[in-house]
């Protein structure tokens, strides 16, 4: 069993005035694929390195399974780690790199050979076993790093931005390979990335971190549909969510979001949550795809914007426009005529509108 549990864990670096990770509480279930995501310096790598035993825990308790591992050295934690720069031993060939950990554990030679070849077969490395790391491409090096971790049969697999050094195409391929590897190995994976696409496509659950604090910990769909605050809403999703400052107005017992000259009718199911904000400014958020086709445009969902330019992505257009001073990105199917620069009317899907408190930045309703 390899669940991971952070119980009031704090990490403060020596000499630092404030902790990089303050009071972290996190429960990762056995065999889950967890993604730690956040901007640079948010504490995601430190959190991963605490699991690995490469960083000490300043306060609190860290469990792997039922065991507190605060003082357990990395080699005794039943973990394997894949590093951002692969960390392959340059003077050893692929075979020796993969077998290194097993040799140190004095495993039987035949068993080592069997496991190395098995891993090499899964990762399509069999023809490269005699090569040194410098003779391999980036993708091949990454697969060797995965192989080195695999052969140890670890209870927990830790991956620290493993795809960030690869080009876009290879990254997409390796993403699938890692997800498949997780299914095959059926063990706990903890994966650090700053790329929200990786986070959304690979993880069973995602931990969104900022300034060492967990902002939200849930499935990708929940994070996308119901972000708990402005940070999560802005971080998850590409292109990112559009935020518009609006004033909530009440007219004839109905609520409207007013942004400049635009007045958008708020669906009834959101009224209760927004009632305390009548006559106040809130932040309204729309995903780029949460806009309707022209035939569904009404006076209650129409926004007058200034079209800046558009991009054809094949199946869709990305439209870049301004609502007053606010820049917006809208994604529409590339079926009709390409919108031209200048004044433009767009229909917002108010059912999908998100509202946030501008002071606390917390979500009011989705």
């Amino acid at each position: 069993m390899a669940s991971i549990r952070f119980k009031n864990v704090t990490k403060t670096y020596p000499g630092a005035s404030s902790p990089v990770v303050p009071n972290l509480n996190l429960d990762i279930k056995d065999k889950e694929f967890i993604i730690l995501v956040g901007p640079s310096g948010c504490g995601k790598s430190t959190t991963l390195r605490m699991i690995a035993g490469l960083e000490t825990v300043s306060e609190g308790e860290l469990y792997i399974g039922d065991r507190v591992v605060n003082k357990v050295p990395p080699k005794d934690r039943e973990i394997a780690m894949v590093f951002q720069n692969y960390a392959l031993y340059p003077h050893m060939n692929v075979y020796k790199n993969i077998a290194f950990g097993l040799n140190l554990r004095k495993e039987d030679k035949n068993e080592i050979d069997r496991r190395v070849h098995e891993a090499a077969k899964i990762l399509d490395l069999e023809h490269l076993l005699e090569r040194k790391p410098k003779e391999l491409s980036g993708g091949q090096r990454q697969r060797v790093a995965l192989g080195r971790a695999m052969v140890r049969n670890p209870a927990v697999f830790l991956l620290d931005e493993p795809l960030s050094n690869l080009d876009a195409k290879l990254r997409a391929t390796m993403r699938t390979e890692i997800a498949r590897l997780h299914q095959r190995l059926d063990t706990t994976f903890v994966y650090v990335t700053h790329d929200q696409t990786e986070a959304m496509t690979m993880g069973d659950r995602i931990v969104v971190m900022k300034d060492g604090i967990v902002q939200q910990f849930d499935t990708p769909q929940v994070l996308y549909d119901t972000p708990v605050n402005l940070f999560v809403a802005g971080f998850i999703g590409s292109p990112q969510m559009n935020f518009i400052d609006t004033v909530i107005q009440k007219e004839n017992d109905k609520l409207y979001a007013v942004a400049g000259k635009n007045k958008l009718a708020i669906p009834k199911f959101k009224w209760e949550a927004l009632a305390p904000y009548v006559s106040k400014t809130v932040v309204m958020g729309f995903r780029p795809e949460d806009f309707l086709t022209e035939d569904k445009r009404t006076k209650d969902n129409s926004m007058s914007v200034e079209m800046s330019f558009s991009e054809l992505l094949g199946a869709d257009y990305n439209l870049y426009m301004y609502l007053g001073e606010t820049r917006m990105t809208v994604k529409i199917p590339a079926t009709g005529k390409r919108p031209e620069k200048g004044p433009y009317e767009i229909a917002a899907n108010m059912e999908k509108a998100h509202f946030f408190d501008p002071d606390s930045e917390k979500a009011i309703t989705h």
Binding site: L54, K75, A80, F83, N85, A87, Y89, G101, L104, R148
Partner: protein, 286 residues
């Protein structure tokens, strides 16, 4: 374009002059081993009296001279050089690794101490060193003077600074993740050093070893002070002194012995010069 060409010519001429200036003593040694003592004194620079048979006679006289005892001196030099180099590589590597990876104010102080010791001329410390070695030797009950362990110990001290300096620069370029990966794989700190770091240091250790080796092998002053002119243990450069009398200097034998002493280092340098340059450059840019 013209400027570039004329500049190239000037640089080439300067290079040739510097090369001639540097190689001239070597030329004198080689040329005069082909002459007898009289011809050396009569025409030290020219080709007068040069013959291969004279070279053979000189070689035979040097190798068979009982006062010089060539093979014993050669063996002593080899033992001292090899022991010093092995210890320098091993402990220099360890020291550089710890200085690099354990960043404390003390590690900085220790590193700066190593660097500072490089700027102190040997001549300043040589006399206090001898008396200190004598006193320490008496205190611990070991003979540090006139003994191989004593001079090896001294070479480790004098060579340590440059070794640590060059190796530290190189280790800084080794990704720390390799050591972390080794720790996760189950390596102890000692295991990490010997299995990961030390093999990666091979190119720069080769460079440092060659540089230290040339200096230790050719060194005259330290062994003449520590081992003495009349001691039992003699290195090749000290043993050559056997041909220098109060009234007569046997230049034919002195120069032939010097040539025999130089040859191993010249061969090693020619074979390994590419390695030396690689090691120097890698240490500099990593």
């Amino acid at each position: 374009m013209e400027m570039k060409k004329s500049r190239k010519i000037i640089l080439t001429v300067v290079g040739i002059i510097v090369a001639i200036y540097t190689l001239f003593p070597f030329y004198l040694v080689v040329m005069n081993t082909f002459k007898n003592a009289n011809n050396i004194v009569a025409d030290p620079v020219g080709f007068g009296g040069v013959s291969v048979s004279q070279l053979m006679a000189n070689l035979s006289a040097v190798v068979n001279n009982s006062n010089f005892n060539f093979w014993y001196a050669f063996g002593t030099s080899a033992v001292i050089t090899i022991l010093s180099l092995v210890l320098l590589a091993l402990f220099g590597g360890m020291a550089a690794w710890v200085i690099c990876r354990n960043k404390t104010k003390w590690s900085t102080v220790i590193y700066m101490t190593f660097i500072a010791s490089m700027i102190i001329p040997f001549q300043v410390v040589m006399l206090p060193l001898i008396s200190t070695f004598r006193d320490v030797g008496q205190f611990v009950g070991l003979s540090l003077l006139q003994s191989i362990p004593g001079i090896v110990f001294a070479y480790c001290g004098f060579g340590g600074a440059m070794t640590v300096f060059i190796l530290t620069g190189f280790i800084k370029g080794i990704p720390y993740e390799l050591e972390e990966a080794a720790a996760i794989d189950g390596c102890s700190p000692e295991g990490t050093f010997f299995r990961i770091i030390f093999p990666l240091l091979a190119p720069v250790i080769t460079t440092v070893t060659i540089l230290n080796g040339m200096w230790i092998w050719n060194d005259y002053l330290l062994p003449s002070l520590m081992l003495g002119q009349n001691g039992k243990v003699k290195t090749l450069p000290v043993a050559v002194q056997a041909f220098v009398g109060s009234y007569v200097k046997q230049w034919d034998l002195i120069l032939t012995a010097a040539l025999l002493a130089i040859i191993p280092m010249v061969i090693i340098f020619i074979v390994a010069q590419k390695q030396i340059m690689n090691g120097m450059v890698e240490g500099a840019i990593k």
